[in-house]
């Protein structure tokens, strides 16, 4: 066991982990931040996407010890200071961009990373960027639409809610 310390959603966090402990396990099991989901074991599904030092990372691809000293942001820290949904979260609700909700934390975190680098992505750019995030419920229609809306684009001409 080794001690690991990092900042998670702006607060200091530390714990004892094995060398093989994944960041996703540390967040879920040691810190109780169960919003980061694990949907596969091959780093394909993207349900565990968090931000590490501002970059989108699949938390299942990183050992907890590799995040020593890092700034980690998870879905639990995304809402506005008053607890209301942030711009991206609100767009997902407004446009029915989630159903079962399991892929949603990863989708929101990926969308945030995309919009940080590309504030007005095209439909094609969004679809391409989401290559590492699987959703089995929505057929992606409303996820793409929500991200376009969150970026301030007019989505009223896109068919259906």
């Amino acid at each position: 066991m080794a001690k690991v310390s990092m900042t998670v959603n702006g607060k200091a966090a530390s714990g004892d982990v094995e060398g093989r402990t994944l960041l996703s396990s540390f967040l879920r099991d040691s810190l109780g931040l169960t919003g980061t989901h694990v949907g596969c074991d091959t780093s394909q599904c993207g349900a565990c996407v968090v931000h590490v030092d501002g970059k989108a990372v699949k938390a299942c691809t990183m050992l907890a010890l590799e995040a020593e000293g890092a700034e980690v942001a998870t879905i639990e820290g995304q809402a506005n200071a008053d607890g209301s949904l942030n711009n991206i979260q609100q767009a997902f609700q407004d446009h029915h961009g989630l159903q079962c909700g399991f892929c949603t934390p990863g989708m929101v975190m990926s969308a945030a990373a995309l919009l940080k680098d590309n504030p007005k992505p095209t439909e094609a750019e969004i679809r391409d960027y989401l290559e590492g995030n699987l959703c089995r419920c929505t057929g992606y229609h409303n996820i793409v639409k929500a991200i376009m809306a969150a970026s301030g684009q007019d989505v009223s001409s896109i068919a259906a809610e």
């Binding site: 980061t36 159903q99 399991f102 699987l134």
Partner: protein, 787 residues
């Protein structure tokens, strides 16, 4: 302006705030004090005799609590099959024992052969490595035709063969059916495969068993679409426990698509092991385990023949299908290729003679059961493909050929046992032609051709039997359960309402839509109504969510219970206003005496029910809580027409979906936003089946596509924005809301449109390709073009 509440409105989903902030409560998010972890050691060979298992070294490993093998479960029952199909000779299906842990024989890769319970998951995994086996390999039975050969190795030595049942449905008179084909002006024949799929909800399965010595009660948390069904099956058939001592809770469920209907070995194991170990036992499936332990879907091989007269009227249809059951019979497995498939073979058409022949087959593969659509996609695919092929052979327009053969008068009794109560297939086709801009296709094709691409247009219709199901009918057909549902409406003293329902959402938004109905009926704000679901300790015995049944069956129970509430509340209001209850009207949450200005509010009546100082106690019980069980009189019949436009790259065979349009008739609609979302999701899965997904086994019974690196799930850039329309509405005639259900349509209706479009594209490029089996990967399309 659309109203923002009640039936027909699209309020934002209540579920979303917790899911969007990481506050959802999925089963794996739950931990029980003192829990141990189980790791299942799973077979890595498809077929073998277990000579011996030595767990002694593993038992000495750090943290190990207990190790279980098949011998530990010799005294409990096997996992039951919920449907008994009678074959063409009147004999019952062959039904093998389905053990919790393999006892003497391994029958598929992924079958549990031992279970290690330890203090931590890592310790359990490490210890499992130390278990030693002596196995004698047996030949794997994988191919269905080979499995049915006389000299085939048997998957189950105690059965007479690998045939589960040989079933005929519709017109059983072979000579009469053959005569119809002999006298036909044209016969179109097509052989096809409905590819094997893995449901892959994003949340893998989880089970946590717990046992209290203090109360002798068990609690199972599990990822289930139907917790009451799991409790009944596990208690009555597997573990022999009294139901009142077992509570099954399914909290937030991260998708299911059928795969979380079934009772699985891991659920019974964790429940059993919790008592045996004296502590809670938790299992979280990895995705790798999910691929080899969740029930698979589809996997049919079919020959279909369509006979037409000289005027292109369909005169007869005959199918011969082999359907894979896998190694054991999963909960609803035997109903899928029989009654959920054969009954749909008439489709939207007035074909007078239909004969469906199905052989179900045991193989050394993962059990196969219902996956979104369950039998109905298989029926739709073969029917709509053979019609398209017939149109091409006859030089007929595929839309006109379908229109000419549409059923137009309702109710309509099909030759395959169903009575369609209502529908308007002409209207949905009209709507589709408009939504899909059929008129503009020629220009779009010309544009694609300029860019060196082949463009194709494909269309199909579909019908489903949903709202599953009338208990008396399915009982006659072999179901070993009723398929009603239940709701309890509990009005609190201050007027807020909890509705306990047997349905259980796993993405469908019931927490939003169900209150829309109750609030609308009473005329109160939706925020005053919540539902409770997913917990046998809190909800009445309901059958759960699958088969597009939640609003049609459970929603109807909820309406019936709310009607009882309103009837009782009117009596209380009548007493308060000294009027006859026949004169009381309820509107916008106010009870008024007809023709007067006397009124009392909903809240006053509720309070009176619980503080009955001024109350007709001699005639009426206090309180305001009612339960209804609702058993549907018939199935519901959502139907529609779908169109797909593809571009095919002639150099690579890569197919891209350029447009996908859907015109559905779901009857009345509670929440249009959610209905659109259900269709989108179904389309995504149907396109996935058509272009990408395939659960492929090698000849040794190894699943080759057992991870997301090998099994091609649809991704965001594989699909377009969809055009979805559900303005054609012929309300269901036999349920109180006039609803039909919308959960499976997209997955049922989309694969044939995609394949029809690709064939059309290839034909437009001068390639005489009449069929390609799904998934239409670039390699398969290229090979067909250059074959």
């Amino acid at each position: 302006m659309p109203k923002d509440q009640g039936i027909g409105a699209s309020p934002k989903r209540r579920e979303d705030v917790r899911f969007l902030t990481g506050a959802g409560n999925y089963t794996d998010d739950i931990n029980v004090n003192g829990q141990a972890y189980v790791h299942f050691l799973r077979a890595d060979v498809a077929h073998a005799t277990i000579n011996s298992i030595d767990t002694s070294a593993a038992a000495e490993m750090p943290g190990v609590v207990k190790i279980f093998t098949g011998a530990d479960f010799a005294e409990v029952g096997g996992i039951p099959c919920g449907w008994g199909v009678t074959d063409r000779h009147g004999n019952p299906q062959q039904e093998p024992r389905h053990p919790i842990i393999a006892h003497d024989t391994i029958r598929h890769v992924g079958e549990i052969v031992a279970a290690v319970v330890a203090d931590t998951l890592e310790q359990a995994r490490d210890a499992a490595e130390a278990i030693e086996f002596s196995l004698s390999d047996k030949p794997a039975v994988v191919d269905m035709a080979a499995a049915l050969a006389e000299d085939a190795t048997k998957v189950h030595e105690d059965l007479t063969s690998n045939l589960c049942y040989d079933w005929v449905f519709g017109n059983p008179d072979d000579d009469a059916v053959q005569a119809a084909f002999d006298s036909a002006a044209h016969v179109t024949t097509l052989e096809l495969v409905n590819n094997r799929l893995v449901a892959n909800p994003m949340e893998p399965r989880v089970a946590i068993g717990d046992y209290s010595r203090a109360t002798d009660e068990y609690t199972l948390h599990t990822t289930s679409q139907n917790p009451h069904v799991i409790r009944l099956l596990m208690c009555a058939f597997v573990l022999g426990l009294p139901e009142h001592k077992v509570r099954v809770i399914a909290p937030d469920v991260g998708g299911g698509f059928g795969s979380k209907i079934f009772h699985y070995a891991e659920e019974a194991f964790c429940t059993f092991a919790a008592k045996a170990c004296g502590r809670a036992v938790k299992w979280t499936s990895t995705r790798a385990e999910a691929f080899i332990s969740d029930a698979h879907g589809r996997d049919h091989v079919t020959k279909i023949e369509l006979a037409l007269d000289g005027d292109n009227n369909f005169t007869a249809l005959r199918t011969n299908t082999m359907a894979n059951m896998g190694a054991y019979l999963s909960t609803f497995s035997t109903s899928v290729p029989s009654y959920l498939h054969g009954t749909l073979m008439a489709g939207n058409y007035k074909t007078p003679i239909v004969q469906v022949n199905v052989k179900t087959v045991f193989t050394n593969t993962v059990p196969v059961d219902a996956y979104r659509g369950a039998g109905r996609p298989e029926a739709t695919f073969q029917l709509e493909r053979v019609i398209d092929k017939a149109a091409r052979e006859l030089g007929a327009d595929p839309i006109a050929l379908r229109r000419q053969n549409f059923i137009t008068e309702f109710p309509y009794e099909t030759p395959v046992a169903l009575t369609y109560d209502t529908g308007d297939y002409v209207a949905t086709m009209d709507k589709l032609e408009q939504v899909a801009d059929v008129a503009g296709f020629a220009a779009r094709r010309a544009e694609s051709e300029k860019n060196g691409k082949l463009r194709g247009f494909g269309i199909n219709c579909y019908i489903e039997a949903c709202g599953i199901a009338p208990s008396n009918i399915v009982g006659m057909l072999g179901a070993r359960a009723g398929l009603y549902d239940a709701a309890t409406v509990r009005v609190n003293a201050t007027g807020s309402i909890s509705v306990m329902v047997g349905a259980h959402a796993h993405g469908q938004g019931h927490e939003t839509t169900f209150p829309q109905v109750v609030a609308d009926m009473i005329g109160i704000d939706e925020s005053m109504v919540d539902i409770v679901h997913g917990d046998t300790g809190r909800v009445p015995f309901g059958m759960g969510t699958y088969g597009s049944r939640s609003i049609a069956v459970c929603g109807s129970a909820m309406v019936r219970a709310t009607e009882k509430i309103i009837a009782k509340a009117k009596k209380i209001a009548a007493h308060l206003m000294e009027a006859s209850d026949a004169d009381i009207e309820l509107k916008d949450g106010q009870f008024t005496v007809a023709g007067t200005d006397k009124s009392v509010a909903w809240g006053d009546v509720c309070l009176t029910a619980y503080v009955p100082h001024n109350y007709p106690l001699e005639e009426l019980e206090p309180g305001l809580e009612e339960t209804a069980f609702y058993d549907p009189a018939n199935f519901t019949y959502p139907a529609g027409a779908y169109a797909c436009e593809v571009e095919v790259d002639p150099d690579t065979g890569k197919v891209s979906i350029e447009r996908f349009s859907a015109a559905d008739d779901f009857g009345n609609i509670i929440n249009p936003m959610i209905v659109d979302g259900q269709v989108h999701g179904g389309l995504g899965q149907g396109i996935g089946q058509a272009l990408l997904e395939n659960a492929a086994y090698d000849e040794d019974g190894q699943l080759l596509s057992a991870s997301f690196m090998d099994y091609a799930m649809p991704r965001a850039d594989d699909v377009p924005f969809y055009q979805v329309d559900h303005s054609c509405q012929t309300p269901c005639t036999h349920n109180p809301l006039g609803v039909k259900g919308c959960g499976e349509a997209g997955a049922i209706g989309s694969p044939p449109a995609v394949v029809n479009a690709v064939i059309d594209a290839l034909q437009s490029g001068g390639k005489n390709v009449t069929h390609i089996d799904m998934p239409l990967s670039p390699a398969r399309v290229w090979a067909a073009m250059n074959g």
